[in-house]
C-alpha cells in the first residue's frame, strides 16, 4: 500500500498555519481522486456491458449463493458415490465458496473477465 506510507509522511508534518493546512487538504483531495480512479477504471469495461446499475445489482445477488450451492452439491454427490464422507463436502464447499466469490468479483468488474486474459 503506497498510500499508507505517504499517509504517515503527511502526519509527521506539523500543521503550523493555514497555508500548510490548505496544502494538506489539497493533497488529500488529490489522493482521494486517485483512490477513486482505479475503481472507475475497473468498472469502465463493464459499464458498456451493464449500463444499468440495478441490473448489475440483480446480477450479483445470486452469484455467491450459486457457487456455494454447486460446490455443496458436487461434494455431496462425490461423498455418496465414492464413500469418502465428509471430505468431498468439506473440500468442494470451500472450492464452491471460492468460485462464488470469484463470480461476484467478476460480476462487479473487480477481477477481469476470463476472455480479457491475454
Amino acid at each position: 500500500m503506497a498510500d499508507g506510507t505517504r499517509g504517515k509522511g503527511d502526519r509527521n508534518e506539523p500543521p503550523d498555519d493555514e497555508a500548510a493546512l490548505s496544502a494538506r487538504l489539497q493533497r488529500l483531495g488529490k489522493r482521494l481522486a486517485q483512490a477513486n480512479r482505479p475503481s472507475e477504471n475497473g468498472s469502465g469495461p463493464r459499464q458498456t456491458a451493464d449500463p444499468s446499475a440495478i441490473a448489475r445489482g440483480f446480477r450479483l445477488s445470486t452469484e455467491l449463493v450459486a457457487g456455494v450451492l454447486v460446490g455443496a452439491a458436487i461434494g455431496w454427490l462425490l461423498d455418496r458415490w465414492l464413500g469418502i464422507s465428509p471430505w468431498g463436502l468439506i473440500v468442494f464447499l470451500l472450492l464452491g465458496f471460492a468460485a462464488g466469490v470469484l463470480n461476484v468479483m467478476r460480476g462487479a468488474g473487480i477481477v477481469r473477465e476470463r476472455h480479457l486474459d491475454e
Partner: protein, 251 residues
Amino acid sequence: MAVDPIHQFQIQNLFPVAKIGNTEIVFTNSAAFMFAAVLGITVFLVGATSGRGLVPSRLQSAAEIAYEFVATTVRSTAGNEGMKFFPFVFTIFMFVLALNVIGLIPYSFTVTSHIIVTAALALTVFFTVLIYGLIRHGLHFFNLFVPKGVPIYILPLIVAIEILSFVSRPVSHSVRLFANMLAGHITLQVFASFIILLGTSLGVVGWIGGALPFLMVVLLFALETLVAFLQAYVFAILTCIYLNDAIHPGH
C-alpha cells in the same frame, strides 16, 4: 378468509396431449401462457414490420427500439461476431420479457416463477456455449479454465475453482429470474390480502386503514414492473456474456 400466496403458482392440467410410457403429457396453464407469450410476440413483431414505413408507426418504433436495444447489448458485450447469436438472444429476451409482463396482469399465471422453466432456458444457454465453444475452438476451449501467468503449484486449485465457477453459471442464471419473480408476486399477494383481512375483520376502520397496504401494493406493482423488464434484460445480457466466452475463450 384464507390467504394462500402460493396458490397463484399452481400448475393446472387443462387437457391431456399424449402419453409416453407411464408419463402423461398434459397441456397445462403454464404451457398455455407460454403459447400466449409466443403468440403475442409474433403478432407484435409481424404487425410492426408489415408496414415497413420510412417514418415508423408507433408499433414499428416499438419493435425497432426492441431490436436496437438487444443489438446494442449483444454488440457491446460479445462484439460484432456475437451478432450471429442475435436471433437467439433476441428470442430469449422477448420470451422472458413477454412472460414477465403477462405475469403482471392480475389473475394471470407467471411462467417464469417456476424454476423448471428458467432452468431449461439457462441450460439451453449453457450447452449452447459449451457445444459452440468446443466446435469452434476444439479442446483449446478448455483454456478458459487455465488463466495465464498463474504459478504452477496453485494451478490445480485455480482450475478447480474456475470449473466450479463455470458450472455454477446456469444455477445463478436461472435462480435469479425465478427467485425475483416468485418473491415479487408473493409480496404483492400478501400485501393485497392485508387489505381484505383488515376490511373484513375491522369493518369501516379496517377499510380506511387498508389504504396503507393499498399504497404499498401500488408502489410494489411499479417496482415489479421495473423488475419484470430488468430481469429480462439481465437474463439477456448474461446470455451475451456467456456466449462471449464461447466466441473468444482465453486467446
